[in-house]
Amino acid sequence: MTASMAEVYENTRKLVGVVHPRVLGRIERRDLERFCAATGASIASPGRAGPDSGRPLVAHPLYLTAVLGWRPGPANEELRPDGTEVLDIDAIPLSGLRLMGGGQDLELHADVTEGMTVRSEFSLEDVEIKEGRSGSLLLLHVLRQYWDDQGTLLVTCRETLMAR
């Protein structure tokens, strides 16, 4: 039985401030190139280290925060009917709710380059419950930060996710 929105809100609120660390893995050149190909960007950000520069390839500035899944992912039959999976907020009890992103606010502290091993931390900064025209929804204010294997902070990402 699906929990009511009020129950989900109460359960989620208990997790505000809890930090969830994760190792995302090694940044592969091929993945950076594919991301740029898909977005229509230059192979590297304009003017940054390009494929012929002899320096590590620099990722598109949205690469880290746009990739939704860093693990192999669930089996097809474990996806929700709309194709989504519960991603890095799997510690938050949102099962049954649809999750939508509405944009991001990024601080880009340092370049993300091929060969780095990146780790991240995710935490819920706040949660609100709102009454909209189509019913209740939760607003999840989340913080994600990413570091390289030397401990250099790469990106700080804040965003508000809507769950209904």
């Binding site: 977005t39 304009p46 992912g73 944009g103």
Partner: protein, 145 residues
């Protein structure tokens, strides 16, 4: 054209930087970001959800705005801060126009930092994604956008 920081002032603008996303682009972006949400590739599903077509991904809107302002900055430019919000949907075939207006210019350690307000609008003028950016232009070069 070389960037003369003295000529970059609040109120200056660039654009439109134009892009028309395609079904293939949406598929490839879903693949590379490991995003299996059906609204981005399954037209009957997207229609059942009430959308006019499969939807340009939230982050792809952000990528377009980022690429537009980086194209203005040219070689050596780097985003220090960047934000966008998804206000309205876009579908393959929409002609999206990204524009930017300078809100501030500052110098730090020999680099010029240009603050921008950004907009991505479709061919009907609907605002799909507003944004902001702080762009560092380090080597004094830019391209006309």
């Amino acid at each position: 054209m070389p960037l003369d920081p003295a000529t970059v002032r609040a109120g200056d603008s660039f654009g439109p930087w134009l892009v028309t996303p395609t079904e293939v682009q949406l598929f490839r972006f879903s693949a590379v970001t490991w995003n299996a949400h059906r609204i981005h590739y399954d037209l009957p599903h997207a229609s059942a959800e009430g959308y006019p077509g499969i939807l340009v991904q939230s982050h792809l809107h952000g990528c377009f705005l980022a690429q537009a302002v980086l194209a203005w900055g040219g070689p050596g430019s780097r985003l220090l801060r960047f934000s966008w919000q998804n206000r309205d949907v876009a579908v393959p075939g929409d002609r999206l126009a990204c524009t930017g207006t300078v809100t501030g210019v500052s110098w730090l350690d020999g680099s010029v930092r240009v603050a921008w307000e950004l907009e991505e609008r479709d061919q009907n003028g609907r605002l799909c994604a507003p944004g902001t950016a702080l762009l560092e232009v380090g080597d004094g070069q830019r391209q006309d956008g």
